[in-house]
Symmetry: C2
Subunit: 555 residues, 2 copies
């Protein structure tokens, strides 16, 4: 038999209701449990699934409705007790966290300065009213909720556009803004690839692959499943692309979605072409691999990630890496005479590659890339990939050389090579660094290790050993030379550093979270500025009454 | 003063001479030591560096010549003793290894069946005579030695071409053939990227980056520094490209060199265009990034590696991975009714991607990719990225399903997702596998994990957990679906498996090593078939006498 139970004024979010459902289903004698808040839409679901009970008639959106399929009517009291215990557990455990909380938007706004993002996960039918208020308070929206109708979605997005804001979603499952993962998202370091997509796990797959390859993401912006429909017309897609177009951290843009409505697709493609950056587009289901102006079309998520990785790596050096050594370069700028670059190479081709990349500087006096494998240095002695002595001598000489600011080198491991080149060069590098620092000077060593984890010297061990000695270690020799070039440009004051900031979110996120508290907790644990707005349906969810109350509020 | 010493008939290779040099230079009272075998070329070097002594006049290439700059003539006897000790140390330590050895080519050929590669590291002036004999015995050559003149290099390469063989080098520092690293090379797994290059550390950098990205190399063929000169005309480059063109393991070809002679460059480009495979060319120093038919031009080694990685990944699934499960697929072929594919997905877009890739099969009855995140499966229960229960049920049902052969699924980790989906699904998968195997059947589970090492679930942990349960785990969902497709093709007998074999080397290396014994030891340690030919100059290095002896040998 189907029995019904209503708990008045006990609003719970959907995750808690699911947890409760799982717990109750495990009870003996219970065949099926259905638990929802008493909204009109949910009452329809009860009806359609044959779980409706007369008790629900007077329930409102603030009331938990439970429908149980069981043989014994005694079960209902057990379930009622279980429910009380569950709710009291929840309130005690959640009060332990130091997350700031409010029961109204006003209260929330008092607890956070100038919030720029609201994450919304309340029932879809209430999203429009809340969303509008949040937009009016200058917040971008990340709408996790689904069941928002087209009309309301479009209205919210139009309001956002007018105000220079964006609505991600509704039904937006994932996003990464300024390096912060939102809702269902993966931890990926910050980098130069921006992602825009109408696909949750599509964005997760692309950003994860990029992360595992060692690259990073500037922003990943979810649009929700319907933004690219004819009805909505890609309003948020356009705003997101405009944003990444101007964003100085973003160098390559990936666009991912199912094939959108024809007109919308044309609009997106037109928009991508207007962007003075390399872009990768994957319209899932379209098979062609091709290039049209600055757009590379691919057909799988993996291809999108791998191609974006390649394209971003082939650009100039990663800004993040530059920022890591910026303070040290500032020290070097204090002594304009210490402005030269040296390269001490064992690998001939690697030396050659560095020379090409640094051609602009190598031609001028005092800058040099030396290939110690060249005949003139190897007469009667082993190759510098085996024997560190020629390079140790060069490193030692840096102590008394007041002109060198940047030193590049390679460490080629593998069969045949020295069993521990990092261990041989490292102490001498450390010694030079300590000597310079004792005189308030600095000198920047940048290197790469050529080899793999399976080589006897073990790639990661050699990297760590060099880092321990104070060397900046990058993935490849090209990256080393490119960072060397950037560093030279900077200390010679031919390049300024643009401060990272973004049109929609400035330089940090400040979040109001409305709905599922776990989203706020995740952000809180990352030391983000966040306040939890414990939303419950105003006036028992009566929309007419809500409107009147809001009018009174605004008086 | 400069003192000279000659040890008759004590031939040593250049590595040993360098070790000896290092040891002697450390002696007190010794300013400088120069040690070389008494070849005419070496005598010239003694003269040019002011280290020549009258004792060297009668020395021949089998005699060690030592020149010492010291204040005390007594040092000479110390050095002589040191030298004797060094040589006796060497012969006792090298006799410990079980590496097969011979003192003549004939002896070597008696100890190895049908060798297909000779590695040569004897003094350059003897390379031609030995190389010719080796080519005549059907071996490809890897010539590490330098100082081979143009004329001899060209002749050797022409002989090789006539015989359908290749000469790598002279002055070839690196190579990977059939997965075996030669001379100075890195350990990189076998895969679908072939590399040809006139650049040692260029090849090492490219293959290492490919290896660190998780891709593999079919062959990496070094050409030596002069193959692309006008004089040689790229003979070996052409042979190498023809070889990779036909090689079934190679899907993408990378060509790397300094800009070659104009005519040679044209020839290479023409050759690349004739290859019905994607190619990447990096002529170091040429800056343009462009595409011309099947050739992608890039300007750094990193770009070459990253682009080749992208291009090879976007091809159909890696053959190596297919071979890993081939035996299991053969079991499945025994029951032609067990020929269906299922996909149990949590991620909607990932399910969609799998459907696209498997479109050919999904349309037919019984094959299905289910998106368990779809509304019809999530009414009143958490999303399948959180709650494993719907997928556990599906997996359990496989026990009694005799039709399903291949099961694909995803495991999306990160914020919001289940803390241990692999741990939740794993035991049920293991159970199904054990059940099937107890009935001499099989079923193949293939999955990917979407996430990163920094996610709370930890990417590598989830991968290992799934592997422990018997799941084949690939890097990305596209790879999963592509392997699923290949597996379906195979068990439905719409695809045959081509046996991996290569025109120049058939399916395994069998090596004669002439010169530096360390090269042979490295191969021996990898359980390769190798014999060490302890070469010494015949007839004291007298070339006239050598020719006569060889004629007598051939009678």
């Amino acid at each position: 038999m189907i029995l019904g139970l209503v708990k008045k004024n006990t609003y719970q979010d959907s995750v808690n209701l699911m947890l409760l459902s799982t717990r109750l289903t495990e009870k003996e004698g219970v065949r099926k449990v259905s638990i929802m808040m008493g909204t009109p839409a949910n009452k329809d679901i009860f009806r359609n699934t044959g779980m409706y009970c007369s008790e629900f008639e007077t329930a409102n959106p603030n009331d938990i409705c439970i429908s149980v399929d069981t043989d014994s009517s005694e079960k209902l009291s057990t379930i009622s007790e279980e429910l009380d215990a569950f709710i009291s557990d929840l309130s005690s455990s959640s009060s332990e966290s130091k997350l700031r909380k409010a029961k109204s938007l006003k209260g929330a706004l008092n607890k956070i300065e100038n919030p720029n993002l609201a994450i919304i996960s309340i029932p879809g039918e209430y999203v429009y009213e809340e969303g509008k208020r949040l937009l009016e308070n200058g917040m971008n929206l990340f709408v996790f909720s689904d069941n928002v109708n087209y009309e309301e979605e479009k209205k919210l997005k139009e309001i956002a556009r007018e105000k220079g804001l964006i609505v991600m979603g509704p039904d937006c499952g994932t996003g990464i803004i300024l390096g912060v993962p939102l809702a269902f998202a993966n931890v990926v370091s910050r980098g130069s690839i921006g992602v825009v997509g109408a696909s949750g796990t599509g964005i997760q797959e692309i950003t994860s692959i990029i992360g595992r390859l060692g690259e990073g993401v500037s922003h990943a912006i979810g649009l929700g499943g319907r933004d690219l429909s004819e009805e909505i017309g890609g309003i948020s897609a356009e705003i997101a692309l405009n944003f990444l177009k101007e964003d100085i951290d973003t160098e390559v843009i990936v666009f991912v979605s199912k094939p959108p409505a024809r007109d919308v697709r044309d609009k997106i493609v037109e928009k991508l072409k207007q962007i003075n950056k390399t872009t990768v587009a994957v319209f899932l289901g379209e098979k062609s691999l091709s290039q049209d102006e600055n757009i590379h079309y691919v057909s799988t998520l993996e291809d999108a990630a791998n191609l974006a990785f390649y394209l971003s790596r082939s650009k100039r050096v990663n800004k993040e890496t530059f920022m890591v050594i910026k303070d040290r370069l500032d020290t070097l700028r204090l002594n304009p005479k210490q402005n030269r670059i040296h390269g001490y190479y064992g690998g001939g081709t690697l030396a050659g590659e560095a020379k090409e990349i640094l051609a602009k500087y190598i031609s001028s006096e005092g800058n040099k890339i030396i290939d110690y494998g060249d005949d003139q240095y190897t007469k009667g002695r082993p190759h510098p990939m085996i024997d560190p002595s020629t390079r140790i001598e060069a490193i030692k000489k840096l102590k008394d050389d007041e002109s060198v600011a940047i030193v590049l080198f390679d460490n080629v491991i593998g069969h045949g090579s020295s069993t521990d080149m990092a261990g041989a060069l490292g102490p001498h590098i450390k010694d030079v660094l300590e000597y310079k620092r004792s005189r308030n000077q600095d000198i920047v060593f940048i290197a790469s290790v050529c080899g793999t984890e399976e080589d006897i010297q073990i790639y990661s061990k050699q990297v760590k050993e060099l880092e321990k000695s104070g060397v900046v270690v990058l993935d490849t020799n090209a990256q080393v030379a490119k960072l060397g070039l950037e560093a030279m440009e900077y200390i010679n004051e031919r390049r300024t550093v643009e401060k990272s900031q973004s049109g929609l979110f400035d330089s940090e996120l400040r979040v109001v979270n409305i709905g599922l508290e776990s989203f706020a907790n995740t952000l809180y644990e990352q030391n983000l500025s966040v306040v939890q707005y414990n939303w419950t349906p105003v006036a028992g969810g009566n929309k007419e009454l809500q409107k009147m109350l809001r009018k009174l509020e605004n008086l």
